[in-house]
Symmetry: C2
Subunit: 202 residues, 2 copies
């Protein structure tokens, strides 16, 4: 029986992190979770999917007070919507991690920080490649692309800091970090695939 292997992918916006994660999951023949997590969480909690997406986008302030309330028995109902979303997503992530899978975003690397059978990757790229990808693949208008990209990264860093108290994108938080456009997405997936094989042998 193959050793369990959960892979979390954190990524800069426009770096192709999601597609790298998806192709890696296909290569390894394991499930892939991204917005699907939101959908699962929405169904589980009864909230509308849209509400989840907006909440996930808007998180910008400290969670420490909220979490301490939650932990001290004040109850889930005392939390803001944003915090409820995060906690439900985290439960979904932990459930998914009972088996090998690839999870993109959602602070999964932090949620699964105590999980031993877990590899954390960070995908990034240079700004020009990200602008190119965002305009040709994500449909962003060229004149606004760079601004949107940098804003999205800031929000991710904010979201991460808010929910984890840690620094998103800090080099030593990950097992491996890679510029997806230095050798291209497909070769990046191949290198990560080889990393996973080496990891399984350890």
């Amino acid at each position: 029986m193959s050793k369990k292997c959960i892979i979390t992918i954190s990524r800069q916006y426009g770096s192709g992190g999601r597609i790298v994660g998806k192709k890696l999951a296909e290569l390894l023949k394991i499930p892939f979770y991204d917005k699907e997590i939101i959908t699962m969480a929405a169904k589980e909690s009864g909230y509308a999917e849209e509400t989840f997406e907006r909440a996930a986008d808007a998180a910008t302030h400290s969670l420490l007070y909220s979490l301490s309330m939650y932990g001290s028995g004040m109850g889930f109902s005392g939390l803001s919507l944003n915090d409820k979303v995060f906690l439900i997503q985290s439960e979904i992530i932990q459930k998914a991690a009972l088996n090998s899978c690839v999870i993109v975003g959602r602070c999964a690397d932090y949620v699964l920080r105590k999980e031993k059978n877990c590899i954390h990757f960070f995908i990034y790229s240079d700004i020009d490649s990200r602008v190119h990808r965002a305009t040709t693949e994500y449909g962003l208008a060229e004149e606004k692309a760079k601004e949107v990209i940098l804003k999205k990264d800031k929000r991710r860093a904010s979201y991460y800091a808010y929910y984890t108290g840690e620094k998103w994108g800090q080099i030593d938080r990950y097992d491996l970090a890679i510029n997806s456009d230095s050798i291209g997405v497909d070769e990046t997936v191949a290198v990560l695939g080889q990393y996973v094989q080496a990891w399984k042998k350890r």
Copy 2:
């Protein structure tokens, strides 16, 4: 004829970056430069090797004024010893980079920033593994190891900031960054080797 490929290795102290670089050079059958650069530079300039080593260790302040003087014709003799060391080392690095090679440290990634046929790796590890390596392989005393390691990193970051104006260890400065102890040194070398093969195909 094989495409030229220069590999720079930046690394946290105690992460095994040097041995990873050395084994990678052996795998790729190309020259490896580390302290050897200092020796070559020393011979070239007539300074004693010891002087170079001390100067490289002690650099902590801004080079911008010195470099502008150098560039504006004031001459090499107007520079401090530290700056002379750095400039001579940089010339040696540029000479080495006329052919494929692996270069560890010495701000080589910055010196060769305009070189197209260049891959920049960053090697790091968790503090406990670094302490273990530093005590068992580098001979550091156990009670002081952690302190020495963190100090060495600070000095490297300082040295780098001083001579380049840039931030050492910032994730997107490199093509790939890897925790050398997640899968072990030999497997790390194998992953980097595969990365290089993929890079040559691009």
